[in-house]
Amino acid sequence: MLSYALRRLIGAIPTLFIIVTVAFFLIRVAPGGPFHLERPLDPQVMENLLRVYHLDKPLWQQFLLYLGNLLRGDFGPSFVYRDFSVGDLLGSGLPVSMQLGGAALLLAFILGTTLGSLAARHQKRPGDYGVMAAAMIGITIPNFVMAPVLTLLFALTLDWLPAGGWGEGALANKLLPIFTLALPQIAVIARLTRGSMIEVLRSNHVRTARAYGLPGHVVVIGHALRGALLPVVSYLGPAAAALITGSVVIETIFGIPGVGRYFVQGALNRDYTLVMGTVVMIATFVVLFNLIVDLIYALLDPRVRYDK
C-alpha cells in the first residue's frame, strides 16, 4: 500500500505539469486581458502596463518565465490586485476556505451518512420518505437562494447571527456560511448512502450478522456501513477538493475572505497569474484527495487490490 501511495505521488508530478501547461495556454486564448475592463485605458498607459508585467513578450517566453518562478515557489504578482502577489492572496484566503469547507464537509458526512442509513433501514416507510424529501429540498434549492433566505431568517428576523462579514473569524460569523455550504452536500450524501446501504443490507455478510442476533445499529455501523460508503467516498474526493477551495457564491454573499471567489473573479478579470495559482492549488488538492479516496477504498473493501 505504501509503495502504491508513493508511486501515485510521484506520478502526480507529470500530471501537475501537464495541467499547468494546458491551463497556461488555455487562459491566454480567451479574448481580452487583465486591463480590458470597464474603464478604458489610454493606449500609452496600456503599453506601459503590458511592459511592466512582461505581457508584451512572446507567449513561449512568458511561459518559461512563469515555470521558472513556479519552481521556486513564486506564483507571480496578481495583475488585478496589484499590491499583492498571488502567493499572498492564496496564502491568506486558503486557511479561511479550508476552515469553512472542512467544517461543512465533516457536518455533511456525519449528518448525511446518518440520515441515509436511517432511511435505508426504514426503506419504503414514512421515515424513508421524510428523510428523502428533506434531502431533495437541500438539493433543489440552489445556494444563492438558500443563503439570502437563511440570512433573512436568522439574521434579520430572529437576530441570532450576523448578516455577513468575517468578523475576524468569530464563530457566529461562520455558522451560516458553513451550514449553507453543507446543506446540499448533506442531501447528496444522504441519498448516495441510502442507495448503496439498501443493497448492502441485503448482502450475505450482513444477513449473517443479523442471523447471529446482533442488534440493528451494530449491524449497520459495524458491518454494513463499510460497503455502503464506497460511492459516498468516490463522490467525496472531488467534492472535498471543491469544498475546501471555497464556494464563490457563499463567499461573495457572506463577505468571507476565502479563495473561492478567485476562481470566478480571476477568470472574469483575466488575472492570468491568479488563475494559474488557483489551478495549481486545486490540481494539488484533487490529486491528493483522489489518492486518499483510493486508499480508503482499499480500507473499506478488502477485496480491492491495486497491485497487479
Binding site: I19, V22, M136, I139, R194, S196, I198, P231, G237, A267
Partner: protein, 372 residues
C-alpha cells in the same frame, strides 16, 4: 417433450424485463413519471396556448404581482392614463370608468389632433379608442376606450413579460438540457469508469489521471473559449455541461467496478470464457447502475443550475429565451421586492426534481438483483 411445451412451462426473464416489471409496480415512481410527463407536456404546448408571448413586453405591467384577478385594477387606470398622455400637451379634465369602458375629457389651448387616440391604444390597458365628442373647435375632446382585461397568473418580470409563459418556455430548455446532458454524461461516464476500474493497473492509472487533469482545468475559461470559437448555441451547452459532469460519474462507476470485479459471479464468467467486453456489458455495468441511477437524480439539478451559470457568462440561452435556472437567479435577486419571480419557477423546478428523485429511486430498487 416438444420444444413448444418446454418453452410454455418455463419462460425466461431477462434482467431488463424483470426491472421493468418491478419499476411499474413502484407506485411512487409511476406517479412521478406521470407528473413529469404532464410538466413536459405543459411546457411544450403551453407557450402556444398562452395568450401572452414569452417575449411580449407590457410596459404598463412591469413587476406586477401574481393574481387570479384580471389586470388592470381600478387604481392602475389613472396613472396609466397620465403616462400615456404625458407628452401629448393636453389637460385631463375628467375621466370615468364604467362597464369596462373608459371615458376621458381632454382640453388644450390649441385644437387637439384626433390621432391622439393612438397614445391610448399604445398603453396595454386600453384598446379601440375613439373620439366620442368634440367641442370648442377641437380644443375639447372626449375619448372613449375599452379597458383590456388581462390575466397574469404568475405575475410579470422586470421587463413586464408574463411569468407563466416564460416559466413554461423555460421548462423546455431546462428539461431538454437536464435530461440530454445527463444522458451524455451517463453514457460517457459509465463506459469510461467501468473500463478504467475493470482493467485496473496502468490503464486505470492513466485514465484516472486524465480525469484529474480535466477536473483541475479552469472550467470558466473552457466555457469562454467555446463561445469564442463556436459562437453560442444550445448544442454547445450540452457539450460544455456534458464535458464536466461525466467526470464525477466516471469516478463513481470506477469505484463500484473495483469492488464488483472481485465478486464471485465475475470470476465465474471469466472461468466460463466470457470475453472482457461481455463481462463488462452483462455483469459489471448493470450492477453499477444502482448508484448510477441515484447519482443521475443528483446530476440533473446540478446541470440545470449549471446552465444558469453558463448564461451568466454568455454561453447558453440568450435573451429573450430563458431557462428555469436563469429565472430562479433573477428571482433570488428580487426576494424582497417581487418574490413571485422566485416562487413559481422554483415550484416547477422542485416538482420536476422530486419526480426525478422518485423515478431514480424506483430505478435503483428495480435494478437491484437482490430485491425479490
Amino acid at each position: 417433450m416438444t420444444s413448444d411445451a418446454a418453452s410454455a412451462t418455463v419462460k425466461s426473464r431477462s434482467l431488463w424485463a424483470d426491472a421493468r416489471r418491478r419499476l411499474l409496480a413502484n407506485r411512487a415512481a409511476v406517479a412521478s413519471a406521470i407528473v413529469l410527463a404532464v410538466i413536459a407536456l405543459v411546457c411544450i404546448a403551453g407557450p402556444w396556448l398562452s395568450p401572452h408571448g414569452y417575449d411580449q413586453v407590457y410596459r404598463n405591467y412591469v413587476k406586477v404581482p401574481a393574481s387570479l384577478a384580471p389586470y388592470p385594477g381600478a387604481e392602475a387606470v389613472e396613472p396609466a392614463l397620465e403616462k400615456a398622455l404625458r407628452r401629448a400637451r393636453v389637460e385631463i379634465e375628467d375621466w370615468r370608468v364604467a362597464d369596462g369602458r373608459l371615458r376621458v375629457t381632454l382640453t388644450a389651448d390649441r385644437p387637439i389632433d384626433p390621432r391622439i387616440t393612438r397614445y391610448l391604444d399604445r398603453a396595454d390597458l386600453f384598446e379601440d379608442t375613439t373620439v366620442a365628442d368634440q367641442a370648442e373647435g377641437g380644443r375639447r375632446l372626449v375619448l372613449e376606450a375599452a379597458i383590456r382585461q388581462q390575466y397574469f397568473l404568475f405575475g410579470t418580470d422586470a421587463n413586464g413579460r408574463d411569468l407563466l409563459s416564460r416559466t413554461l418556455i423555460a421548462g423546455r430548455i431546462s428539461l431538454m438540457i437536464g435530461l440530454l446532458a445527463t444522458a451524455v454524461a451517463l453514457v460517457i461516464g459509465v463506459t469510461y469508469g467501468a473500463v478504467a476500474g475493470y482493467f485496473g493497473g496502468r490503464v486505470d492509472a492513466v485514465m484516472m489521471r486524465l480525469v484529474d487533469i480535466l477536473y483541475s482545468l479552469p472550467f470558466m475559461f473552457f466555457v469562454i473559449l467555446l463561445v469564442v470559437f463556436f459562437g453560442r448555441s444550445i448544442v454547445l451547452m450540452f457539450i460544455a455541461v456534458g464535458a464536466v459532469e461525466w467526470l464525477d460519474m466516471a469516478r463513481i462507476v470506477r469505484g463500484q467496478t473495483l469492488s464488483i470485479k472481485q465478486q464471485e459471479y465475475v470470476q465465474a464468467a471469466h472461468a466460463l470464457g466470457v470475453d472482457n467486453r461481455g463481462i463488462l456489458r452483462r455483469h459489471i455495468v448493470p450492477n453499477t447502475l444502482g448508484p448510477v441511477a441515484v447519482f443521475m437524480t443528483l446530476l440533473v439539478p446540478k446541470v440545470i443550475l449549471l446552465e444558469s451559470f453558463l448564461s451568466f457568462l454568455g454561453l447558453g440561452v440568450q435573451e429573450p429565451m430563458t431557462s428555469w435556472g436563469v429565472l430562479i437567479a433573477e428571482g433570488a435577486r428580487n426576494i424582497q421586492g417581487a418574490v413571485w419571480m422566485l416562487v413559481y419557477p422554483s415550484i416547477f423546478l422542485a416538482a420536476t426534481l422530486f419526480c426525478l428523485n422518485f423515478i431514480g429511486d424506483g430505478l435503483r430498487d428495480a435494478l437491484d438483483p437482490k430485491d425479490r
